[in-house]
């Protein structure tokens, strides 16, 4: 081939592939556009009061999304409170403590949890976990039920069940990323600690401290997942729009209200209000994910950033 033919061949190749790369960028922009375009009515009608008011009444055409954002943030916060220590414990065990023989199978098993469809979590939550939570609530002594945190009738479905299901779903995800972070901590850090006479925990603490930004990134990545989780939460949270501090109370999340009401929203304003909730969920997860990536990237700057496993962990390198 002549030189120009080779050059043409090269630029055609680049062009062809570039179209695909461009399509991916365009897709994200397209999603953003569709979400803004689809929520204009609601954005214009309510402005910021949409996020400050509590009344959600499609019949009266009054839409206040505070209960949903509250439910989403509260359930995700509780889930992380439960999941983060356990996930870190798993990451430490698998990367620092586990006997060699057990490491591979245990890693596989803990990451398997991340691959289960959320509908299966929902089914399990609905028929297995909720009855257990209900028993727990019934068994709660009377004086405790006066505390706002535990008030309300013992229904089973509610914030606690949602937080528990979410925690189970987030643990494998956060654990996998935290393990990658610990792997990226240079061995010299630990050796130095041991050389100074540190106990195992003191050496691990060094490693955790060294990778602290990455560890925070791992937890935030879990947060990003919890915020957007739909099916499992919808099936156990009780779907009642209210702002309540009680973990026994049935509440509602942003993703759940979209799932439940979208097909029934005949009123354009109702539909636009739901899309606006989707828009905010979209922006929220972008910010959280970008932040966590930034933190993870800072840890792995020396090599490649630690590979964040796609939830199914197809190629845990």
């Amino acid at each position: 081939m002549t030189r120009t033919a080779v050059a043409r061949d090269g630029s055609l190749f680049r062009l062809g592939l570039g179209v695909a790369a461009l399509a991916v960028v365009a897709l994200v922009l397209g999603i953003a556009f569709v979400l803004v375009d689809g929520s204009l009515l609601s954005l214009r009608a309510f402005g910021f009061s949409f996020w400050r008011t509590q009344v959600w009444d499609p019949v009266a055409r009054r839409f206040g999304a505070l209960p949903f954002i509250w439910g989403t943030l509260y359930s995700s916060f509780l889930a992380l409170l439960l999941a983060a220590p356990v996930a870190l414990g798993i990451a430490v065990f698998l990367s620092e403590l586990s006997p060699r023989l057990l490491r591979q199978p245990l890693t596989f098993l803990t990451e398997l949890l991340a691959a289960f469809p959320s509908i299966v979590y929902g089914l399990w939550g609905m028929f297995v976990l909720v009855p257990v939570v209900r028993k727990l609530e019934v068994a709660t002594p009377g004086w405790m039920r006066h505390v706002p945190l535990f008030s309300g009738p013992p229904l089973g479905v509610g914030m606690l069940a949602a937080a528990l299901v979410l925690a189970v779903m987030v643990v494998p995800f956060t654990a996998a990323v935290a393990r990658e972070v610990l792997k990226a901590v240079p061995g010299a850090q630990r050796e130095a600690a041991y050389a100074l006479g540190a106990t195992r925990w003191e050496a691990i603490r060094m490693a955790l401290f060294y990778g602290r930004t990455g560890i925070i990134g791992a937890v935030m990545l879990g947060l990003g997942r919890a915020l957007g989780e739909t099916m499992a939460v919808t099936m156990v949270i009780g779907n009642n729009p209210q702002v309540s501090p009680s973990i026994f109370a049935p509440q509602y999340t942003m993703a759940s209200v979209i799932a439940n009401e979208f097909t029934e929203a005949a009123d354009p304003l109702h539909l636009h209000a739901l899309v606006e909730i989707g828009l905010v969920l979209f922006l929220l997860t972008i910010v959280i994910n970008a932040l966590s990536r930034l933190l993870l990237w800072r840890v792995g700057k020396k090599e490649e950033a630690p590979a964040v496993p796609a939830a199914a962990a197809p190629v845990a390198a």
Partner: protein, 288 residues
């Protein structure tokens, strides 16, 4: 010097306690895993008979029936998703490895990351606005499109990672023999990574086959037999959701059976990908 002062004892006790906590965490994570597997299999396996795979859903009140239409529906949906996402995803993954530092690569990599983090319900809204509203009806095509969008970042990442595992000497060799860049990629680099990419695609398919939220208002649901792309179509996940929310004992049983099928496919593809990845890693180390 005394070997064990009180401080030393305390430090060791704390260390021991943390080790126990870490081991307990692993056990704690395995409890829900075991519980879910146990309940899904216990409730699902007995309902998993021939009729479940071959029969249509029965009307309310009539026991029996199956999810044949939903299973075919799910296959059609992920088929559409694969047709839409695999070519674009692999091409984009190749671009990212070939032109690592191009500005478009940075943008595309960031977009793929964003896409991976977008909640599936939001992707559902997108597909609704883009593919349901213009035609004024729920369609299999819209559902497949939503699943395709979910697959895309998974395929891009798999492709990029696996191409990175192919030894550089492969491409250098073919370039040295006078191959153009396109030819080197197409005939040497890509085929070397292909088994891994195929597994990655299968895992991604298994994963989106388990999605429910993006289908709720795109492909909707259908109690009847339908393979048409311009009609609403049943899917395993939406059917499980509908049945779980129903008050009927028999439908609950079928929901569990549906969950069993989902879990079984996830298990199968996870194991498959594990073996495929291992082989590629060996190749990367140059021992295969």
């Amino acid at each position: 010097m005394k070997a064990t002062s009180a401080v030393d004892l305390r430090r060791r006790a704390v260390s021991r306690a943390v080790e126990v906590f870490c081991a307990a965490s692993v056990v704690l994570a395995l409890v829900p895993l075991g519980m879910i597997l146990f309940f899904v299999l216990r409730q699902g396996l007995p309902a998993l008979n021939g009729a479940f795979f071959t029969e249509m859903p029965k009307p309310v009140g009539e026991p029996g029936g199956g999810m044949a239409n939903a299973m075919v529906g799910t296959l059609i949906l992920i088929g559409i998703a694969a047709l839409a996402a695999v070519p674009v995803g692999i091409a984009c993954g190749v671009y990212l490895t070939e032109y690592r530092r191009a500005r478009l690569s940075t943008a595309a990599r960031f977009s793929a990351d964003v896409l991976n983090g977008v909640p599936s319900i939001v992707i559902g809204i997108f597909a609704y606005q883009a593919a349901v509203v213009p035609f004024r009806r729920f369609t299999a095509l819209a559902g497949g499109l939503a699943l395709g969008v979910m697959m895309l970042p998974l395929i891009i990442r798999t492709t990029e990672e696996l191409l990175g595992l192919v030894p550089p000497s492969y491409r250098e060799g073919s370039l040295a023999l006078g191959a153009t860049r396109a030819r080197a990629v197409w005939t040497v680099v890509l085929p070397a990574a292909l088994p891994g990419i195929v597994t990655g695609v299968l895992v991604a398919l298994a994963r989106v086959a388990g999605e429910t939220a993006p289908l709720l208002f795109t492909s909707f649901n259908n109690q009847f037999w339908s393979t048409r792309l311009d009609q609403e179509i049943a899917s395993l996940t939406v059917q499980v959701y509908t049945y779980a929310n129903s008050p009927y004992e028999d439908w609950h049983r079928q929901a569990w059976a549906g969950a069993t099928v989902l879990i079984a496919s996830v298990l199968f593809f996870s194991l498959l990908s594990r073996f495929a990845t291992r082989r590629l890693e060996r190749m990367h180390r140059g021992t295969a």
